[in-house]
Structures are given as C-alpha cells and as structure tokens.
C-alpha cells in the first residue's frame, strides 16, 4: 500500500503508541480505582496505597437487586436473543440467497429498509402494543417483550445472506441428488458450512444485547428483571460520587465482554471483512 518513509514511520509509531494509551488507559484507571479507598480516588497513583476489595464486597452484597441477579438477567436475555438471531437470520438469509420465490428481491430490500426506522420511533407504538399484550408486567412474561422487539435484525439477515451467496452451488445440488428436502439441506449442509458467519453474528449479537441500555430500560419493570447496564444507570444515582463501588460495577460488567473479545477477536474483525461494502 502507501509506502511511508523511515523517519515518518517512527513518528507514526510514536503517535500510534500514544493513541493506544488513550484507548486503554481509562480501563486500567477504572480497575485501579475499584481497589482504592474513597479518600484516595482522586490521587494520581495507579497502584492503590491501601489496596482493598471493599468495593467488590459492596457491589456483590449490598446493592438491590443484587449483582448476580443483574448478571444472570443480562446473560439470559443475551443468550436467547443470540439463538433467535442465528435461527431467524439463518433461515431468512438462506432463503434470500438461495431459494427462488416471487417477491424475493422486493422483500429483501424491505428488510434492509427497516434499518432506517429508528428504535425510538418504534418505542412509542411498541410500548402501547406491549401494554395491550399484558407484557409490561412484573411477571416473568415481561422478558417476552424484549424478545419480541429484538428477535429479528436486518443487519444479521444481510450478513447471513452475503455469506450463503459465497457457498458453492454444488453443495445444494449434491444434497438434492442425495434426496434431501429443503429443510434438511439447510440444517445438515448449509448451517455446518456457515460456522464462521454464525460465530460472527452470535458474538456481535451477544455483545450488543449484553451492552444494551435502551430497550431494557423501557420494557423491564420489576427490579429483579433488570440487566447490568440498567443497573449501572440506577446505581450511579444511588452511589453518587462513591466511585470505588461504581468502578467495581463497571469492571465486573465489562469483564465478560473483554474475555469474549480476547478469545474471539478474529470473528469480530471477520464481520468487518464480510460486510465490507463492495463498489
């Protein structure tokens, strides 16, 4: 690509090193603060003088609803939404890529067009609909409201379709000759060959749902249904400027995503490659 002179390379390297510090340091700082005592919070030292895990015991024992409930709600919602996205986007993506039926292109563009409808426009009517369906309730049926809103994703259908387009036709033909029906072809032949895109869709959906504040903060009623980001919003007010427990909550809620990022980085970067817009 663009060649850069040797002297410039050094300057760019220093610039990049500086910016990576800007990218990473705030997280180190939150980790450091979570082990400090309140009176040390605004000191500049990275290593606490009197390291204490007190903030973590506060977060794990004192907040209501408790941390584990927030954690498992986030996990439960994220896992179900991942399953929904993979199943529904897989079916639709395969149909749009491979099966011939009247209205295929029109419906596909309709799906893409929904990406322009902002969630906040949906918010007002969807809330009315969920109230009518009795899903805005402290009963566990409340979760169903989230799943209804988040079950389909146009972006994931797009990704799945693009991937299925790249698979060789011979795969379908071979399955057909072996007497497999369409559903069997999809389940036995197509899905096993689509593992990379399934991983990408799964990981990104998990990350997005785990991190989401908007819909949970509107739909989830009873505190025992709240998720971690909603919990952070609530406790930030409650703890006010008691920073160590707030930072401990930040650290604990980011940790699962960090682990996924470290181990699945290639799938996340994969997404950008597979969805890159072609001219």
């Amino acid at each position: 690509m663009v060649k850069i002179s040797r002297k410039r390379t050094h300057i760019f390297f220093l610039l990049m090193a500086g910016y990576s510090l800007v990218s990473f340091f705030p997280f180190i700082w939150s980790l450091s603060t979570s082990f400090k005592k309140q009176d040390e919070v605004f000191n500049m030292n990275i290593l606490p003088h009197h390291a204490t895990a007190g903030a973590y015991t506060t977060v794990l024992s004192k907040i209501q609803p408790n941390f584990l409930s927030l954690f498992f709600n986030s996990l439960f919602i994220a896992v179900i939404v991942v399953i929904l996205h993979i199943t529904l986007a897989g079916l639709a993506g395969y149909a749009f890529a491979r099966l011939r039926f009247p209205g295929r292109n029109a419906l596909f563009y309709l799906v893409l067009g929904t990406m322009m409808i902002p969630d906040q426009l949906r918010l007002v009517p969807i809330y009315q609909i969920l109230v009518k369906l009795h899903l805005i309730t402290p009963h566990p049926l409340n979760y169903l409201g989230i799943f209804l809103v988040k079950a389909v994703s146009a972006a994931d259908i797009f990704l799945m379709r693009q991937y299925f387009l790249t698979l060789p036709r011979e795969l379908d033909d071979a399955a057909k000759i072996d007497g497999a029906g369409p559903l069997q072809t999809f389940l036995r032949v197509m899905l096993p060959n689509a593992k990379p895109v399934i991983a990408t869709v799964g990981i990104l959906t998990f990350q997005g749902t785990w991190n989401e504040l908007f819909w949970p903060s509107i739909i989830l009623q009873a505190p025992n249904h709240w998720t971690l980001p909603f919990g952070i919003l609530q406790f930030k007010g409650q703890f006010s400027t008691d920073w160590p427990p707030i930072m401990a909550l930040v650290v604990l809620s980011t940790l699962p995503i960090l682990l996924i990022y470290i181990f699945c980085q290639r799938y996340i970067i994969n997404l950008q490659l597979s969805s890159s817009v072609k001219g």
Partner: protein, 315 residues
C-alpha cells in the same frame, strides 16, 4: 406426435410444480422473520404516524388532533433545543469519528510495527457497554478527575478556566464532552470498516501511480480516497443514523432532562421524556416521525452524494 405433446406438457407441469414448491419453501423460510418485520418495524411505523395525529394517553386515543403536535413542536423550546443538540452533535461527531477511523486504518494498513496490537487496542473502547464507558468517562472528567489533573500538569489553570473544569456539568461544554467520548469509542469500529475496505483496494493502481512518479500524498488523495468512496458512504450514513439517535450517553451524564440546562437534551431523550414522564404518547410519536423524516432525508441525500454503487447488495 400426440405422445410427444403430452410428454412436453407433463414436463412443463412438473417444472411448474417444482417452481411452486420452491416458492412455498422460500416463503415458509422467511415467514416468521417477515411477520416480525412487518408487525414490529413497518407496522409500528404506520401506527406511530397514526398516533402522531391523536391525543394519546395511557388508555389510548382521546381524539384526533390533526397536525397539532407537528405545529406545536416548532414552538416548543425544549424540542428546538433537542433538535439543535442532536444535529450539532451529529454534524461534529460523524466527520470526527470518520476521519479518526480512517487515519488509524491507513497507518495500520501501512504495516507499521505492532499493527495487530494497535488494531486490538484501538477497537477496545468500542466493545464496552455505553453505560460502563459513560460512567467511567464521568469519573475521568470530574472536576477533581484525572483529565483535569493532566491538564494542570501541562500548565492549565483549572480553577480559572471558564468552566472551572466542570466539563459535564457546565452547559457550554457538556455536549462537546460527549462528542469527545463518542468520537473516541466509535472510531474503533470505523477503523475496522476502513481496514477491511483498504484490503479490497487494488494494489496495482497504487503501483502504477508510483511508477508514474506520484508522491505518497498524491496517491492517497487521487487513488486511495476515491477507491474508498463506497466505504465513506457506509461509514457516514451509518454514523449519521447512529448519531441522531444519541440517548444512552445523554441520559447517563445528564439524567432524563439532559441537564445542565437541557444541554444534553436530544430528540430521543425528549421522546422518552414525553412518553414516560408526561404520558404524551401522541406528541412523542410526532417527534419520532420527525426524527425518522430527518434520518430518511439524510440517508437519501448521502446516497446521491456518493452515488449508487455503495448499496450494491449483490456483492
């Protein structure tokens, strides 16, 4: 003769039957997703438009009010503040995050030492939840926080600064602070998009230009940038749609009123306020429709500006 005709007819019939079967299978595969798109996306869009012409309370419609809310919106100083904030925010943050993302991508793509490490760390701020990262940001930007400590280390007199270092609680700097936060967190995603697209730029053009004696600067502006046009469209359009929907960071830093002094009030936050604090669902729907109209117009305008190639979905 007649035998041949019947064979042909049978053959055509068989073909038609197969076609019909495939169509049936196709429709059944997309039936559940399409049902959800039609009800939960397209249907609610029309429902929202319908609601926006009604005085709509908790129990439903209290009567048709025509264009009342659309007219009211343009005399509502909180709404005018919200629309101004949302547009100002989008106009600054989108070029900022795009330029930063492009810059980072180009340097990483030039294969400097540690490119993989840099790619991983630059994307890192994009993976944490907005709740976590905004909370962390509020802590860093607090009057006693590390940001001001670093400023004073470089000789800035915080106590005599125009906002006394209260970046998020001064109405003059709150929105710009959130712009800084989001340019930082989003540029990682933009970088990855550009990196992917830079890999599809055909190296032969660059080589040919270099042989013809073009300078690296000329190569960048005359070859790389034009070839990245589809990527620019995608990054700017999706960036714009995202920016106009600013909500999480605003409610976390400024509460439901976008404090201080509505400086963090955005269109979306106002929709939330009207719905869940004032129960004015009709008015909230009208503002949602205005937001949708703005997003739609901008997307179409950007598409014209960058040409049609960007949405060539047939890959």
């Amino acid at each position: 003769m007649s035998l041949q005709v019947t064979t042909l007819q049978r053959h055509l019939k068989e073909k038609k039957r197969k076609k019909l079967k495939e169509a049936f299978v196709g429709w059944s595969f997309i039936s559940i997703p399409m049902f959800l798109f039609i009800t939960m996306n397209i249907g609610v869009l029309f429902f929202a438009i319908y609601m926006s012409f009604h005085d709509w309370g908790i129990m439903g419609s209290r009567g048709n009010v025509g264009m009342k809310y659309y007219k009211a919106a343009f005399h509502d100083h909180i709404f005018l503040k919200a629309i101004r904030n949302s547009i100002l925010y989008a106009l600054i943050v989108v070029p900022l995050q795009t330029a930063l993302g492009l810059f980072l991508a180009i340097i990483i793509n030039a294969k400097i030492r540690g490119a993989k490490f840099f790619r991983a760390t630059f994307y890192f701020p994009s993976i944490a939840s907005s709740a976590a990262i905004t909370t962390l940001f509020i802590f860093l930007m607090a009057p006693d926080g590390i940001f001001n400590k670093i400023l004073s280390f470089f000789g800035v007199d915080i106590a005599n600064l125009f906002n006394q270092g209260a970046w998020l609680s001064d109405s003059r700097t709150a929105l710009y602070s959130i712009i800084g936060l989001n340019a930082w967190t989003t540029s990682g995603t933009m970088m990855l998009f550009y990196l992917a697209n830079l890999q599809t730029v055909d190296g032969t053009y660059v080589e040919a230009a270099a042989i013809d004696g073009a300078t690296p600067r000329q190569i960048f502006w005359k070859i790389t940038m034009p070839l990245l046009k589809p990527a620019h469209f995608f990054v700017m359009a999706s960036g714009m749609i995202g920016a106009l929907q600013l909500y999480d960071q605003a409610i976390l830093a400024g509460g439901a009123d976008g404090s201080p002094d509505y400086s963090l009030m955005t269109m979306v936050l106002y929709i939330y306020n009207l719905s869940f604090r004032h129960f004015e669902f009709g008015y909230a729907a009208a503002i949602g429709v205005i937001l949708f109209a703005i997003i739609f117009a901008l997307t179409v305008a950007q598409r014209y500006a960058f040409g049609n190639s960007a949405w060539n979905t047939d890959g």
